[in-house]
Symmetry: C2
Subunit: 393 residues, 2 copies
């Protein structure tokens, strides 16, 4: 996989830091404290699975003017030296609950800030500070009268605009998933379970070069499904069923995220109409995703096509989102999201409707594609789904 992807150069990381420093200056921040996996990798280049273990925090200190400092467990030092452009790396032998990096952070932040300075941290929406809160409070006490303030929006602002090397990874993941979905019908048959169908897809993804499959949900039912956020189960797929599989899978740490629907045998007209409607809404969402428009306007373009009642019934709260190092990140394709779209953003277009199946039961139908915004029409990173559901004989 990685051989064919453009490398992240030290220059790219220097530019990311420079853009962060410009925003720090505008906001009067002396430094940023980074604790989360995605921002740590974004600024350091270290791509590690150590984050799966809740035991050991890892930190970056990004000063407004000087070089960044990494504060990490000694067990991650070899990886850091091999994979990061950051030269100033300070370590401690974690786990050490009485002092898991706190005094090292105090030192690093003290060196580059003065009393009264403000330090930006990951405190806002869609963000969880990735260190024990008691340690954060202790750090804040040690650094007083310096204060922390939210800088999560600042970091999302940088991450929303993808570089070509980042886009290449999302596209690689999306293309592997597209090929795997396209080849999946040959591996499906009536009588198999949701779980077996998902194993078949995962093996194709791994053979195709996908690195991780952190998110893979499936749902099925006669003429449709009731929810999409469910673990694949032991339900047998039978003639008349619709199956949806939705996955967030990665190439070199970057996510694609989209779903596909599969029909087992023939479908009723109601199901067919729901599919056509959501397909058309996806087209409308893609067409609306232009620089200068807001995320809310993209939502409204889809909602207009779908009709408000159908949207409300299906709603998982929005009809798409940013993606990149995280499966979901700002902006939200939500009526209240005022983010102005720009070329270089990567978002999902993910409309859904509620409908009544032929037997009167309530079902939902969801579609999804991944797009890169450009100055002109968006570029599809996923291969557009066929206008008709693939039919499994």
């Amino acid at each position: 996989m990685s051989e064919s992807l453009p490398a992240f150069t030290p220059d790219e990381y220097r530019q990311r830091l420079a853009r962060a420093q410009k925003l720090m200056a505008e906001r009067g921040l002396a430094a940023l404290l980074v604790t989360t996996e995605m921002n740590f990798r974004y600024f350091s280049g270290l791509h590690t699975q150590a984050w799966v273990m809740p035991t050991r925090p890892m930190f970056l200190v990004l000063p407004a003017a000087r070089h960044p400092v990494a504060v990490i467990p000694s067990g991650s030092l070899v990886g850091m030296r091999q994979n990061s452009w950051i030269a100033d790396v300070r370590t401690w032998p974690a786990p050490r609950p009485p002092d898991d990096g706190v005094t090292l952070l105090r030192d690093a932040l003290s060196e580059i800030s003065g009393p009264g300075d403000r330090i930006g941290a990951e405190l806002g929406p869609e963000t969880q500070l990735r260190m024990p809160l008691l340690d954060y409070h202790r750090l804040a006490d040690l650094l007083a009268p310096r204060s922390f303030q939210d800088a999560s929006a600042l970091m999302f602002r940088l991450r929303m605009l993808k570089s070509p090397a980042e886009t290449a990874r999302i596209r690689a993941a999306a293309q592997i998933l597209s090929r795997s979905f396209a080849a999946l019908p040959d591996a499906l048959h009536a009588g198999m379970t949701e779980r077996e169908a998902c194993v078949a897809l995962q093996k194709k993804l791994l053979d195709g070069g996908i690195e991780k499959i952190p998110y893979l949900v499936a749902a099925s039912g006669r003429e449709g499904y009731e929810t999409i956020n469910a673990n694949p189960g032991d339900r047998q797929l039978l003639s008349g069923d619709v199956l949806i599989i939705d996955t967030g899978s990665t190439a070199d740490g970057y996510f694609c995220d989209f779903d596909r629907n599969f029909a087992f045998g023939s479908r009723d007209d109601a199901t067919r109409r729901a599919h056509d409607l959501v397909y058309a809404a996806t087209d409308a969402g893609i067409a609306a995703a232009r620089p200068g428009r807001t995320a809310g306007e993209v939502w409204r373009a889809m909602a207009k096509k779908l009709g408000e009642d159908a949207v409300r019934g299906a709603s998982v709260g929005r009809m798409g989102h940013g993606l990149g190092l995280a499966l979901t990140e700002p902006p939200s394709i939500h009526p209240d999201d005022q983010t102005v779209l720009e070329a270089g953003m990567v978002i999902t277009i993910e409309p859904g409707v509620a409908y009544a199946a032929a037997d009167g039961s309530r079902k939902v139908m969801v579609h999804e594609e991944d797009v890169l915004l450009t100055e002109g029409p968006p570029t599809l990173l996923s291969t557009r789904a066929a206008a008709d559901m693939p039919v499994i004989a």
Copy 2:
């Protein structure tokens, strides 16, 4: 997979709540606020991949005397109704950044506590509060003069002792991994890359019934490897190499976690001696893992076998840890960990040494097994590695 596993009964969840309430009473806590994936599932039974998305928090309120309350995004309501014993479920249409569950939490916590009461939350070691910190601060302000205090140790105390249904899942995962590791040599050959070897293992895991593979690291090199916490790469495996693969994989949400070493062709004496030493240390660690001993004593039993210099050189900070809903959880097999072991705990035994390969380069060698503590000798959940490394011709 799940058909063959014993179900978690509503009674089991009632017992978990009752044990939590007993500890709350002892500590003078009016309630627990639960925000993290593992504790949310432990108390509610809802096993969902929604946690992969940083966008939407989910909460439980566990009162000292009354019934629990779930506060979740409306998109997770169907899953909650189908999978949780909790009846009082309150929802909001997330994402809604101005109020992502905060006022619902304020209401739920106000109903079951009075001014001056203390509420336990996940603030301590090995824990990260899983909500935006600004929201937590707002909640604390709304609830004042109630106060939050750390209850992470209380929750880990409960989770450390596994029920039979929990152990069955860890054992199922460990047995699938054991069988997959045992079958792997047939799929390995000189000339393939680390990544290809890991794809072969992952496909076996999926065919065997593994649900997720959140953690899978590999390292290789001539006569040994330099670190173990690395993503599988494009390095070609050649005669004279040692390959290690270490994975934390799940069955129905519960982790196994162990590694295996593979020799490509013959090995030098130094590598062979390192392997024998770590193998013997693993035996010593397993033998020492008895109720009444401390986690530190298990560490010392292994360190004595290995020799202190070798331990220091290899150290990733400890030689094992608890496992269950999390890949790593308390206790730590660390010299300073005073946790007294009890029957029902599940831990990894994970010794490592540094050694000089025949060419003088510094290498490490790590082994790992998963064990369930009993009143007598521990029960292996993984199938004990062969005394000699499998040799790939």
